[in-house]
């Protein structure tokens, strides 16, 4: 019980800070925009962490799911439909179906093949989006307005949008956590450890992995809807494979073993990116080596950092 409380303390603290942020001096426009972006990317990162940490599926094409959600908003916006009751289910269904379709091929393979195939499918989505001349092609598409909720324009309000992002992030976290703790999740985790043994017990891991991949796609699609709304603009660059790399980095930075690590990773990523961007135009010159160092030395991720530090102190 006590370890359980200790394990939940960090994520609860972070989420509480996010909830209180608008009243702690982060209520200004740019800070709220930054936080919204961080929470939306955190949502996508949680879904990636779910399949990565839960099922061992290293996807390098996760940004495509985000893109499907965002482009669903664009296409419906172009048709004059902005009602969330339509947009959200369509976007989630589109992203989840893309995940199921490509996953059906990709999950047949494993290891490095899986990485490369998801990367290739992500690029396919990217080039397709770039060739959609009717929706801005390479230049992107500016939304007429944000998605409406039951005819109201609540999402235009900064504070409401902030809590909408936070609420969806919490829901995705809870959903993934619940799934991983269920029988379904136990099969997934077992298959990650040893596919052979799981087969020997009589489970075929394939359908479990595929369904997990589809669910992760749906959550990322929902994040895509929010991302489109946050910037009121969608471009193929949202789907570029570098974005998938960024998402993977968020998950690793936070720590693969825990879902809330993805939230920490996304927050750290967005803040560092912003901070370095203020220092120099060539911020990637610093960011790239930071990434390499994080991979080489920060093995447990940020979520494992307290334990790593404590361990070092106890040993010393």
């Amino acid at each position: 019980m006590r370890t359980r409380i200790r394990e939940s303390a960090l994520p609860l603290l972070v989420l509480a800070l996010l909830a209180a942020a608008p009243f702690l001096g982060f209520g200004e426009g740019w800070a709220m925009t930054l936080l919204a972006r961080a929470m939306i990317l955190a949502m996508a990162a949680v879904s990636l962490s779910f399949i990565l940490g839960g099922a061992g599926l290293i996807s390098l094409g996760h940004a495509a799911m985000l893109g499907f959600g965002a482009y669903a908003v664009v296409i419906l916006d172009d048709a004059g439909i902005t009602e969330a009751a339509v947009v959200v289910p369509v976007a989630v269904a589109a992203a989840a179906s893309f995940a199921l379709l490509t996953g059906a091929v990709a999950i047949r393979t494993s290891g490095v093949h899986f990485i490369m195939i998801t990367l290739a499918f992500g690029q396919m989505a990217f080039f397709t989006a770039a060739s959609l001349a009717g929706y801005g092609g390479d230049d992107g598409y500016t939304l007429y307005s944000r998605t409406s909720l039951g005819g109201t324009r609540w999402l235009e309000d900064r504070l409401v949008f902030h809590y909408a992002c936070l609420g969806l992030l919490v829901l995705s976290l809870l959903l993934c956590r619940m799934l991983l703790a269920s029988r379904f999740g136990r099969v997934l985790r077992a298959a990650k450890e040893s596919s052979l043994r799981v087969r020997a017990v009589g489970f075929d891991p394939y359908p479990y992995r595929l369904v997990a991949y589809g669910i992760a796609g749906g959550i990322a699609g929902l994040a895509g809807v929010m991302l489109a709304n946050a910037t009121e603009f969608v471009a193929p660059s949202y789907i570029a494979w570098q974005r998938s790399g960024d998402l993977l980095f968020m998950v690793i930075l936070g720590g693969v073993g825990s879902l809330h690590g993805a939230v920490l990773g996304a927050l750290a990523f967005v803040l560092v990116e912003e901070w370095l961007g203020h220092i120099t135009e060539h911020w990637r010159l610093i960011f790239g080596p930071l990434l390499i160092l994080a991979v080489l030395f920060l093995r447990g991720g940020l979520a494992g950092l307290p334990a790593q530090l404590l361990g070092a102190r106890n040993r010393g």
């Binding site: 047949r108 397709t128 993977l248 690793i252 990637r284 080489l296």
Partner: protein
Amino acid sequence: MSTQLLLVQALNGLQFGVLLFLVAAGLTLVFGVMDFINLAHGVQYMLGAYLGASFAAWTGGFWAGLVLALPVALACGLVLEVLVFRHLYDRDHLSQVLATFGVILFLNQALRAIWGTAPLQVPMPELLTGGITLMPGLQYPVYRLAILGAGLATAGLLWLLVERTRVGALVRAGATNAPMVAALGVDIRRLFMLVFGFGAMLAGFAGVMAAPILSVEPGMGDTVLILAFVVIVIGGIGSVRGAFLAALLVGLIETLGRSLMPDLMRLFLAPSPARQAGAAIASMLVYIAMAAILAVRPQGLFPVRTG
């Protein structure tokens, strides 16, 4: 569409295919021997193009640029190996993907900081300018034919090297079962450094050759990298022969698809939507082909590793 145009596009496709092969060869060997996935391999290609462009501008000649660029590309590859990649061989694929992704971020930005974002122009070598008449009414640029020739010659040399020499036998053995080769007393690390440097140089060579016909710009390596991944996945990871055939296949599909698809769509659709749908489908063709091949043969066309 006339036969001439089709032939020209087919030649373009083959020429793109041999460039892809030069990049994919290093990638597939590095992966085959060391089980190391190197996203930064596309950067070697880009680096080759930039070095070729700069040395050509500095010395005033394409050939001098080529001769200077190759050893520098090799050196850059080895420096990266010692600084970063060497520390990743024992780590899982995920760590390798991320760390090499960091290398890409750094190098893309470094090239941008040094050379700026504007595309560089590289003049064609004097000797290879102009066109040659292949058929009545069909002119084809000599330079593109030269790329095709150089690519095929390199592929032939590589084949000889891998299939007919002692080092080649070690590389093949390493790709099939690396621990066993190490157990037999071969210094697999040194073998790997050799393969790695050689692969980096091949990719750099492709970059130098592509420089006069493509625009040399930051990020040019990423597109090629991803197609090279598709190539080695289709060909079977670790197989040079598979990479060669798959590279030609991907080059042809990519090039012919882009030119034929819009016309094909016009049979069913009005001109404007046909162009859009054609372009969208053409950009998906390679990946659809990959999915189809993998659905039938999940290990690729020529799987190397057994079991």
